[in-house]
């Protein structure tokens, strides 16, 4: 369903100097119906990989093939225009995805799911991170994607919202799958089957998310010791 073919990515500073490679030859195939957890330390390129899969950014080398309806990366970073209200942002996204005729339906669904009350008609820049994630997650569920991309989409929500999000997602198992970046092992185990551990810009595939978490956990427990001075 998704093919990531030897993808390389690096970023450039303003002076046109390039930073090192963030991703170096990441290569895997995600079959239909399988949900994937992306794990790894901070700054190893999990969000970058998700952005590339979502088509928000382009790889420097290699190719990503999407053969299904893929959502945008749902999470804290981006996706909402701060000066527009929640309702206006929802309308915008509904229109982009060609849902102009059922726009009221989409708005009703998101409003109901996000439960942010009057804030729905206030500019997004006034939202707390929890409110943003409620809106973002609810919005993505208003469309029938085959593959959802979640970049810590529920991390800042409270317990009741997390439970609701998980329930909503479990209802879609079989119809849709997810690629998820998260630091919370619980939700990864609940929603994902396979795992990819990103390490030094390379991807290590695990058929079982539990094994991926175990391998990653062990590498964290035994950090390479280095003497100071």
């Amino acid at each position: 369903m998704i093919e990531v073919n030897k993808v390389y990515k690096r970023y450039h500073t303003h002076n046109h100097q390039s930073t090192g490679w963030v991703l170096r030859g990441v290569d895997f195939r995600l079959p239909k119906g399988l949900s994937l957890g992306l794990i790894g330390g901070n700054g190893v390129g999990k969000s970058t990989l998700l952005r590339l899969i979502g088509g928000m950014d382009y790889p420097d080398r290699g190719k990503i093939v999407r053969n299904c309806r893929v959502s945008w990366p749902i999470g804290l970073a981006g996706g909402f225009q701060g000066t527009m209200t929640g309702r206006q942002n929802v309308k915008f996204v509904a229109r982009i995805h060609g849902n102009t005729r059922r726009i009221d339906e989409v708005i009703a669904f998101v409003q109901d799911f996000a439960e942010i009350g009057k804030a729905f008609d206030e500019p997004i820049k006034t939202y707390s991170s929890g409110m943003r994630s409620r809106l973002a997650f609810g919005l993505s569920l208003a469309f029938d994607f085959d593959l959802y991309l979640s970049d810590e989409a529920t991390a800042t929500g409270d317990a009741s919202f997390k439970a609701k999000a998980k329930r909503a997602f479990n209802d879609r198992v079989g119809k849709a799958s997810i690629i998820m970046v998260s630091h919370s092992e619980g939700i990864l185990r609940d929603l994902c089957q396979a795992g990819v551990w990103l390490r030094n810009g390379e991807a290590i595939w695990f058929d079982d998310i539990a094994e991926a978490l175990k391998a990653y956990g062990e590498s964290v427990k035994k950090p390479p010791l280095r003497k100071a001075g």
Binding site: G54, Y58, G79
Partner: protein, 259 residues
């Protein structure tokens, strides 16, 4: 699966609705100034003229209609370019959706400016006709064609500037600064005919002057445009700027989106 054109059309529709909303609710007197700015300029210029005591008009046209045509056409060009400077930055968050390309907000803003400025011209035309000025175009089709060409010149300029200003922010400042001398040198408020012929030669490099003069010639039967203006020259600029702008957007699409 939707076709490419369906997706593009949805994106333009969505962005257009967003821009209309931002334009009309963004600044408090947004609506007022669209009409207020050209009217203010006209009042000021007429005031200055009667102060200097120059009552001799422009040959073949009343001063006020002459001024209205020049100012609105110049604003059509100017706003298209100026609004393009921030078009990409103002919509950066929306590039999270891969359907939205950096060129889309530029195109949509330019289209919106075109519609707004056309409305402003219509209103001013109606107002001055009611005040008994001869303000209806003598050659309506020709006038529409030149008006459209001026809009395309703004679009071409906007496409180039939107990429330039996003990659090198200083370009945006320079363009904004250049617009004042452009306003004067394009003959929007001062007749270029009254300038010595030797200088006119250099001013004629400016395509906006060509556009304004051609438009006036289509509006007023007895009006003779500055010698040397040509529709062809204007369109050379149009095609060159549009091609360059599209090429820049194609070349830097990834960088503009990621920034």
């Amino acid at each position: 699966m939707r076709s490419h054109w369906q997706v593009t059309w949805s994106v333009w529709h969505a962005l257009f609705m967003r821009e209309v909303l931002a334009r009309t609710t963004g600044d408090r007197l947004g609506w007022f100034w669209m009409l207020g700015e050209p009217v203010a300029f006209i009042v000021i210029m007429v005031g200055i003229r009667s102060l200097i005591g120059r009552t001799g008009g422009i040959i073949g046209a009343d001063y006020i209609p002459w001024l209205i045509v020049g100012i609105t056409a110049f604003f059509l060009f100017r706003e298209s370019v100026i609004r393009a400077i921030n078009a990409i930055e103002a919509n950066q968050a929306l590039f999270a959706y891969r359907q939205v390309k950096p060129i889309d907000p530029v195109l949509v803003r330019s289209a919106l400016e075109g519609l707004l400025k056309t409305t402003v011209l219509m209103i001013l035309m109606a107002m001055s006709t009611l005040l008994d000025y001869d303000m209806l175009p003598a050659d309506p089709l020709g006038a529409m064609l030149v008006w459209l060409s001026m809009w395309l010149l703004g679009l071409g300029g906007g496409l180039v500037v939107s990429v330039g200003a996003r990659l090198v922010p200083d370009i945006g400042h320079v363009i904004k600064m250049l617009m004042l001398p452009m306003f004067i040198m394009s003959g929007a408020i001062f007749p270029i005919q009254s300038i010595p012929h030797a200088f006119q030669r250099y001013l004629l490099y400016n395509p906006v002057l060509h556009g304004l003069e051609l438009l006036r010639a289509d509006f007023f039967t007895g009006y003779t445009a500055v010698q040397g203006v040509s529709f062809e020259y204007l369109w050379h600029w149009n095609l060159a700027l549009l091609a360059l702008g599209l090429a820049l957007h194609l070349r830097f699409a990834a960088r503009l989106k990621a920034k």
